[in-house]
Symmetry: C2
Subunit: 246 residues, 2 copies
């Protein structure tokens, strides 16, 4: 069996929990993880509170191969991710010389004052590596298996592009979608039988509803092409049976 | 001080974690909670795995006033929310007589077979109350402080509309947004001072980036109008100072 690589995501920010900002990073990370063969197993959205961030991060980083965080690495007082991550790892949070110089140079070049607030963006847990930020200089960072990235979607996506090549990726999860024109209630029984007959696959059933009627998207997932095709054939045969019966 | 009422959300479903379906329920619940004065403090997205659902639910329901779940209450084998919630509460999961009759009547009326799969939707933890589903009959349910609802957004929203009037709502969190035309780096220092001077408020700073420049949305939150206005005045004065300086 190929290695299974798992991941969790922690979204940090009161603005997501209040509804003021609608998260657009979870879906993007999920898509990327699926594409490269890492199983995203859990997501937590936590407030801008140090104790909450520390507790959630320690729960996640000890359990999954990788953790990805978004949010809370800007220059304002409510950006407490670097301090919280340092605390979770039990190391000091301090100015990173390389980040400090890079930010200082960048602001000097643009004739902008390198304020105390801006200097905050050069702080990271001792021993962290940079995650480059091609959009606005201030880097994210990696410490242990935890990748700390920005919350602004365009910056998060650019940082993630830099992280992906560094990850140990698992065997890609293969998937095949089967459109089923009838609702879950019709196919639920036979589908459960098919799942039982193919224990090395994961068969998902996603109810869709629109214009007053239900239909179903069935998705077969497996780590080998053989397992995938065997289950897919059974699912397609079943759907055909019900579609023609209806 | 008015009561503080807290909530957590649990989104159940492999399809969200794989990226195949993009969640649209978190943002909606967050908006509604903020509007009625309940603090959404945490969200977890968990896979279709009983142990995971039970562990997350027990962590959340013992900690927050309310828990809201979405997903996994349909008729297929991967719909294991009712069983998992029953297990978390240590009660049997069984056919609910009222739901069974309601579903049976509805299918009979439409000339549709009441399959074993469809009957699954009448199962709920012993002692649960119904949450009406005006869209497609199959009810959600409430047990203790946990509200179990559908994952399909239109059904989730309709169920939530039925739940809201039953909730003990806290003092509404008041909020005021202040547009700040400069980036966080400029205002971070003074903003932290304002937050310190107004400990009974929560001042959030949300970086925005577009067309090559940063701006900032500042949001002051407080539980009384007095506290809100005092902090807002200070924030506005600061923004004006920087906006005219730039």
């Amino acid at each position: 069996m190929p290695d299974i690589v798992t991941a969790a995501m922690m979204v940090i920010g009161d603005e997501i929990l209040s509804g003021r900002t609608k998260d657009r990073n979870i879906g993007h990370l999920a898509d990327i993880m699926t594409a490269i063969g890492i199983d995203l197993k859990e997501v937590r959205i936590v407030p801008d509170e140090e104790d909450e961030i520390v507790a959630a991060l320690n729960a996640l980083r000890t359990r999954y191969t990788y953790v990805f965080t978004t949010g809370g690495i800007g220059p304002t007082h409510d950006d407490i991710t670097a301090d919280s991550v340092a605390k979770a790892f039990g190391v000091p949070c301090e100015y990173d010389a390389k980040a400090y110089k890079m930010l200082g140079d960048s602001y000097a070049q643009r004739g902008i004052e390198f304020t105390e607030a801006r200097k905050r963006m050069a702080r990271m847990p001792r021993g962290a590596d940079h995650i480059d930020n091609p959009v606005s200089t201030a880097p994210g960072f990696r410490i242990g298996n935890v990748h700390v990235m920005a919350g602004v979607p365009s910056i998060f996506q650019a940082m993630l592009d830099n992280v992906v090549p560094t990850l140990k990726t698992g065997a890609k999860m293969l998937s095949a979608a089967v459109h089923c024109p009838v609702g879950e209630g019709t196919i639920g029984g036979p589908l459960a039988e098919i799942q039982k007959a193919h224990p090395d696959t994961i068969i998902g059933s996603y109810p869709k509803y629109g214009e007053g009627k239900f239909w179903t998207e069935l998705v077969v997932r497996a780590r080998t092409q053989e397992a995938l095709e065997a289950a897919r054939a059974d699912v397609e045969a079943m759907v055909k049976r019900f579609a023609t019966a209806g």
